[in-house]
């Protein structure tokens, strides 16, 4: 062929063919894995944060229903209960609620017609617990019955346990899936490296016999796959972030289902994805390449 060749403008071409590095299928696979990993991470973060938020909110407070006993009026009983509770270790504040709060809860059942003032409607006491060492339901109960009060304490502990358990399951399966995906990505890269080395055995052999160090040759593969993985990671992360943003926009602060509230800040979690992908790929490629070069 007769293309003019300008020696002065010659620059060394990369030792590994550039087109190998642009295999769309490989990029797609790694991008999908990164996308799934990011989605998993987002899900875990959102679920975790939501669970944490609810649990925290529930942990901080308790509600006590006080029923009048003997000759005491409900209001007096409630006031006494609030006093007792305020003195318990681990309680930050206890406040008897206005009677209307209690009426609100009863009214649907009795209709507007009933004269609630005449009835012994129980009163509510709202208790705010100390953040650090909150009092338990048992402690509150003990203090109240010691003072002869007829009360029911609801510290939401059953709910909290359920939420914690669900959050734990989400966190563990999420981490498992995440790890699995990272391993799969590493395996893809290891496979691709091996395939790349097999397809370019000649390159490796020539470089080796021409006096290139093993590390130099391994670095060629390491760099290439790190770059591919970074690109794929960026694509996957962007897709995941876009999906997260869509969910957030559609579902508001609560996400598409109230169970998975996504915050704008959560989307930042995808940022390290290209880096992690590149690191995983670099390590996988280096190990694979070095092992194969050693056999020369």
């Amino acid at each position: 062929m007769s293309e003019p060749f300008d020696v002065a403008r010659w620059r060394p071409a990369p030792f590994l063919p550039e087109r190998d590095a642009r295999d769309p299928a490989l990029i797609f696979v790694v991008a999908v894995l990164c996308f799934l990993a990011c989605l998993t991470a987002l899900g875990v973060i959102a679920a975790d944060r939501a669970a944490g938020g609810w649990a925290n909110q529930l942990t901080g407070e308790a509600t006590v229903i006080v029923r009048a006993r003997g000759g005491e009026t409900p209001d007096a009983a409630a006031a006494r209960a609030a006093e007792v509770l305020a003195g318990v270790q681990g309680v930050a504040e206890a406040r008897a609620l206005e009677r209307e709060k209690a009426y609100e809860l009863v009214r649907p059942w009795l209709g507007d017609s009933a004269d609630l003032e005449d009835l012994p409607v129980p009163r509510l006491v709202a208790v705010t617990l100390e953040r650090e060492q909150p009092a338990t339901a048992d402690q509150l109960n003990a203090a109240l019955s010691a003072q002869g009060l007829d009360t029911v304490v609801d510290d939401h502990s059953i709910w909290i346990k359920d939420i914690r358990r669900a959050a734990g399951v989400v966190r563990w399966t999420g981490s498992g899936v995440f790890l699995l995906i990272a391993l799969a990505a590493a395996a893809v890269v290891a496979f691709a490296t091996r395939a790349g080395l097999a397809a370019r055995k000649d390159v490796v052999e020539v470089l080796h016999l021409t006096g290139a160090e093993d590390g130099y040759i391994a670095a060629l593969f390491q760099l290439r796959f790190a770059r591919i993985a970074a690109v794929s990671g960026a694509l996957g992360a962007a897709a995941a972030a876009a999906l997260g943003a869509t969910l957030r926009l559609i579902g508001g602060g609560e996400g598409i289902t109230p169970a998975l509230p996504i915050a704008w800040l959560d989307l930042l979690a995808v940022l390290p994805c290209p880096l992690i992908a590149a690191a995983v790929a670099a390590v996988a490629a280096r190990l694979t390449a070095t092992a194969l070069i050693r056999t020369l």
Binding site: S2, W10, P12, L209, T210
Partner: protein, 246 residues
């Protein structure tokens, strides 16, 4: 070529660039393909290695360019026992050796120019320093118009000349050529031989394995003949301290 008596621990000649001491070689657990070789190549010498197919010519060269290890005996290169060297020292030694492989092994996706420039790149030279030399060399071997072509688009003889260009571009201290003229015509074979002679005059030690009886006859250089992995004959000049000056 200086022949040594078997098993004699002769004092090393300072100017022996290659020395085989009772060297045997086998592939894996196969039979010995080289048996008990003893010889030395002085710096600046020029030798042919001949012998029938399968005699062990390529294997002998592989020992010198460090692509294979002896199963017995010692190969000395640049005055060093290659078996005693740490693997990390080998690349530097390899950079001082130029090889024309029997099956060429060119990099298919690189241009002829990039292929030829490869050893200079590996050795860490700057493109601006060497690109003119590379171009000149390629023109000299008749590839001036094919510098941008990739090896799969080259004719058989063109590939062979490219492999030769790559082997000599780095001005190696030793040049090993394994059947370098199998795919070129007589005229080109002679041209290539003259290139080797020129390099030899500039100090490169040269070893050529070949079947080309014509070339060997015409060249008037010492010959090492192998049969079944043993040295059976030495060529016209016998052992010589230095290669002749043509």
């Amino acid at each position: 070529m200086s022949r040594k008596p078997n098993n004699a621990a002769a004092p090393e000649a300072a100017d022996d660039i290659v020395r085989f001491d009772a060297v045997s070689m086998r592939y894996g657990r196969g039979p010995e393909v080289l048996s008990d070789l003893n010889f030395a190549l002085p710096r600046g010498s020029f030798h042919f290695v001949t012998g029938p197919s399968g005699a062990g010519k390529s294997s002998l060269l592989k020992l010198i360019y460090l692509a294979a290890k002896p199963s017995a005996g010692a190969v000395h290169l640049f005055g060093e026992d290659t078996q005693r060297l740490h693997p990390s020292q080998l690349p530097k030694l390899r950079q001082r050796i130029g090889v024309v492989f029997q099956d060429l092994i060119l990099l298919d996706h690189l241009s002829a120019f990039d292929n030829a420039a490869l050893p200079l790149r590996i050795a860490g030279h700057k493109p601006s320093e060497y690109r003119n030399d590379v171009a000149e060399l390629l023109a000299w071997v008749g590839l001036g118009k094919r510098m941008q072509a990739q090896p799969p688009t080259l004719a058989g003889g063109e590939k062979q000349r490219l492999a030769i260009a790559r082997a000599v571009v780095n001005r190696p201290e030793i040049l090993l050529a394994d059947e370098p003229t199998g795919n070129v015509d007589q005229e080109m074979a002679l041209r290539i031989f003259r290139l080797f002679v020129e390099l030899n005059r500039l100090g490169t030690t040269i070893v050529i394995a070949t079947h080309d009886q014509d070339l060997v006859a015409r060249a008037n250089k010492p010959v090492l003949n192998l049969e079944h992995g043993r040295i059976t004959a030495l060529g016209p000049q016998g052992p010589r301290p230095r290669a002749d000056d043509e």
